[in-house]
Amino acid sequence: MMGIQFAPDHGEIERRVEALLFAAAGPLSAAEIARRLPEGADVGGAISALRERYQGRGVELECVADRWQFRTAADLSFLMTEEREEPRRLSKAALETLAIIAYHQPCTRAEVESVRGVSLSRGTLDLLLEMGFVRLRGRRRSPGRPVTYGTADKFLEHFGLSNLYDLPGVQEMKAAGLLDLSIPVGFELPDPSRAPDGDDEPLLPGDEDAPEFAQDFVAED
């Protein structure tokens, strides 16, 4: 028998993962954890074991933006008066804009405006961009090539969502066709606030951006 154990056992891997997650400044991905462990270490298994071990404790292991982080249990928030930071208050308009972007991403400014029926006031989108909740994603392949927006990881981290699938009610809304951005053909609601810059044109059939919402999930991990 050898005096030195080369391959750490499950328990030891779990200890190490626990230590790494405790010492991390932010959420860690399984890949990042794996990089610091011996090759072939069962990171997934260790995470599951830790999740179970911390279940119901004062500190829990949460999945946010496809990464792992220890966080205090939500029901103990009342204790944390000293640690609490008063979050920047988002206006109703900003929250609605954030929700529309989150559920419809990638979507353009014009699409946000069309859902809300009013033009976005200056400052609404900037604030979301500045806070890091929203990011620019690309451009729509439609006339005018408008920029599209999506949510950033910070949004998922802030609201404790493990990924976009985790958005409340997203499946039901999708099933009900509510996340469809194309409003029935020919339907024109008067909208004097909209700038007549061609943003208004309906998406072309087979627009390549259209399936991106679904693709996102596949691509992000």
Partner: protein, 277 residues
């Protein structure tokens, strides 16, 4: 969505509601006509899919009417929506056999599309409620608090967004512009000493009240001080001469023309503002 669905539709209750009283005109809480429509639709207490668009149109028109009666100035979009709804309502009430003009969408479809938009907005409203009800980081849940204890810095992602890239770029360009800022030619002024000399020269001829404009030297060509500078310096110099007792200045009222005259003979009469030493 399921919350919006009410199995027992209480139509009688909805019928009893007088829209004008049911809806207090308070635009502060609303972003635009669609938001108002959604709030009105909720007063019908039915699933949005079963919404009576005719009734909604009536409610909305009553809302606009009420807002006007109370002298609320409604933004243009509210009025455009009102006329569109009035039109939709009239089309919905037409007998079905009556075909719309060529290419026009059937009124029922337009109504359905409006209901869809309201549903969509409501879904987003609910999404906001659901998202903000979640435990939020640093408000409800907390990561490890000791900054010195965090040693592992996640490294497999780079925190740089396009927004930051854009912001960095614009900041640079602005700074560059400020560095290269060239205030251009120094503005040349009609020197006070020169103005004094000029006034002393013309003073003997100022026997009548003469306007400041006429006394001040005229600008020649594009170079040199501006006309405003000539006028301003001449005025300053003339006030000095008034103080010395060499001349008088008068003005009928504030902002009126200023008149200059040398001290001595021919002093004018009348109630005027005079600067006398």
């Amino acid at each position: 969505m399921t919350e919006a669905f009410q199995p027992n539709l209480d139509f009688t209750a909805a019928e009893q509601v007088d829209a004008r009283e049911a809806f207090v005109v308070d635009l502060d809480g609303y972003e635009g006509p669609l938001h108002v429509l959604l709030a009105l639709a909720r007063t019908q207490k039915v699933d949005l899919l079963k919404l009576s668009i005719t009734r909604l149109a009536e409610q909305y028109l009553a809302f606009v009417h009420e807002a006007r009666r109370r002298n609320f100035s409604l933004a243009a979009d509210y009025l455009v929506m009102a006329s569109w709804l009035a039109y939709l309502k009239s089309r919905l009430l037409l007998p079905r056999t009556e075909k719309g003009k060529g290419g026009e969408m059937p009124a029922e479809e337009m109504a359905a599309a409006l209901a869809f938009r309201l549903q969509k907005l409501e879904a987003m409203r609910k999404a906001v409620e659901a998202i903000t009800a979640r435990p939020q980081l640093k408000r409800d849940v907390f990561a490890r608090g000791d900054p010195q204890a965090t040693v592992i810095v996640p490294s497999d992602r780079i925190d740089a967004s396009l927004y930051e890239l854009m912001a960095a770029y614009v900041t640079q360009r602005r700074r560059e512009e400020q560095r290269h800022y060239n205030p251009g030619q120094r503005v040349e002024a009609f020197a006070l000493e020169a103005a004094r000399d000029w006034l002393r020269e013309v003073l003997p001829r100022l026997e009548q009240w003469t306007s400041l404009e006429q006394v001040a030297p005229a600008r020649r060509g594009e170079d040199g001080p501006t006309q405003a500078s000539f006028t301003a310096s001449t005025l300053s110099a003339s006030l000095e001469l008034v103080k010395e007792g060499a001349m008088d200045v008068k003005q009928a009222e504030a902002f009126a023309e200023l008149y200059l005259k040398r001290r001595g003979r021919g002093r004018g009469r009348g109630q005027v503002l005079e600067l006398v030493p």
